[in-house]
Symmetry: none
Subunit: 202 residues, 4 copies
DNA sequence: GATGAATGAGTGTTCATTCAT
DNA sequence: TATGAATGAACACTCATTCAT
């Protein structure tokens, strides 16, 4: 992990916001430089190209998301007891975090409409993040509901990923306007289903 | 509703694909003109500006989506009997349609990352589409499960919208790779929840 | 042979002078555009890139040189009788032409220090021109001195090419300051040698 | 003559090659610095500007060429007896040297297409070198053929300079591909002419 | 002596747009 | 309706050069 210069950090800090608002194609290095308090040419003392800067920001965002996810499931492991609470911590915190974390905004927008030339790299890296989330939730749910059959477990994993997707969309699209209701509703039907499953098992 | 010339239609037809693949900022009128078999300057015989063309395509996409949605729920009204099938037709057909309808791809991508200058217009118009979907589903569900309490009805409406969101994300992000599983899982937990509700009511 | 627009011709006309004076790397499209009475961006209505323009100018220069050479040897064929006059017309006219033909200046300078990226194309095309000159002179000399042995013929061809080279250098380097003396001297020793050969044959 | 630092020497050593390959305008200080194993800014610890570096390299090249020329004619003075051998040593060695001496390549290329801003300085300095060559050859030929009339002497001097030019062109343009033949041919006709002159004198 | 950072000027190139034809 | 030509503005990027460290 290389140490980035203070200026490079400042550039990344403003770039993440600018990219997430305007997208890759809609962002200009002039604007980013100005936000960072320097001239356009100075950016090249820190990054080789626009792509290089974009990928640096993307790497930051990915790393932060990985850490955040890890933290959520670590914390949950110390608390959770019932199946309905598996994955709940990540789901809850994600919603709150989005408004505060430019990296999260950047990540979602980038993944949903990646710049053509970086598409493969971005898609691949994000796929790995989702796989990680899948493993986290599966572990958490298995721990809370060890009696779940394999097919049923797989079903809840998919449903959970779908719920996460749905909430992220709501965050991106409407800045979370209807988030609370959507969150509550989806979580409710998930809980209902888990309750049913628990009942049948008993 | 004005009649558009054949050339204008051809331009829109290629523009929708180009915009949905590259986004507003990443698309150039040169490329679109070339795809339409004409020169860049000729576009201005049909559209006043890039924005004008983009909004024309957007209007097409919105209209098509409105019609499609209407058709789905009309067809469903003639068939549906159980609550678990409310909204199912739209949900099913949407997945199949996406791969074939450039307008659907365009619509989703545009809505999630709209060009800065057209953001308000786009967001507002799409909001109306979602409201329409909400009404459609609510009516369908009420018809199939008239015994549902108001809060419970509202909950399922939100859950349904969330499921639609989730599937659309899957379509955009991964071209539907995991769509079937996600669809099945989310629909299953919705059905489970509805079954529980029905049981409690009985 | 495509017809070039009047503007494109004007651009080429000023570009040939600018390129020959500053070289490829030292020339800027801004300057060329200004000389042509238009803005930099307008150049791209006529040429795809700087390379494209440069190669167009190069093609013009090559073509003109081919024509000029052909004309010289055609004219000579109607006149020449003694071996010492073979190739003389081209040699004489070349010197006069250089000061007047920007294409000739451009060609020589470009060939001696071609832009790195176009080196192969330029070198190859010029090689063909030299081969043509070689054939012209050989034919002319053979006609005037059919009794020359093959090795001796080859020797004079090489000497002739060398003399041409030498005069071109003088033109490039010193704008022809010492051209007349150099020309006279080299032509004299060539003539002396041919006279010797003729004497031995007799 | 100041002593240059080791770093400055290394810079000059790589610059001469880079300049001769890309020309003045096509060379960047970044590239030269990298080849010299340092950063661009460090060049300014040794040279005031790009021009300063270029002129330093040019001075090196000139000096080397002067020395080389002097050495050739000194050596020749100890050996030569017949007029046909006057200037031959320099001519022969030049061809072999070019491929090995970056300074010689640099010198020729620079002289034929000098950077606009340094043109006068370069042209003047090279003119002095040619004058020196002229004196060397004249002295050598006079010594070997004291019976030559003044006009005839002047003629051979011009022819000799022309032959040198021609060979240098061949070296620059084609990296010496046809050099041997051209050299042999030109030298042959010079020798023939001198033989004729000697005969007439006798 | 060497360097990271910064910068004003300038590069070639693309853009959406206009206009006469 | 269609287009070739033109253009101002903007683009990503490179340049030689400066300066504090």
């Amino acid at each position: 992990m290389k140490k980035r210069s203070a200026s490079a950090d400042r550039i990344c800090a403003v770039a993440v916001g600018h990219f997430s608002e305007h997208g890759y194609d809609g962002s200009s290095l002039s604007d980013i430089a100005e936000l960072a308090g320097m001239r356009k040419a100075s950016l090249y003392s820190h990054f080789d190209s626009k792509d290089d800067l974009f990928l640096a920001v993307f790497a930051d965002a990915l790393l932060e998301e990985h850490s955040f996810m890890q933290q959520c499931f670590d914390d949950e492991a110390a608390l959770q007891q019932v199946p309905q609470q598996a994955g709940a911590l990540y789901c809850d915190r994600m919603a709150q975090r989005y408004g505060q974390s430019p990296h999260a905004r950047f990540l979602l927008r980038t993944v949903y409409l990646p710049p053509q030339v970086l598409r493969d790299h971005i898609t691949g890296a994000y796929r790995a993040l989702l796989d990680q989330l899948e493993r986290h939730y599966a572990a958490s749910l298995v721990h809370a509901a060890p009696w779940l059959t394999q097919p049923r477990l797989a079903l809840y994993v998919q449903a959970y990923l779908g719920i996460i997707d749905s909430m992220q969309v709501e965050l991106i699209y409407a800045d979370g306007a209807a988030l609370q209701q959507r969150h509550a509703a989806l979580w409710q039907i998930l809980s209902d289903s888990l309750a049913t499953a628990a009942q049948q098992q008993a």
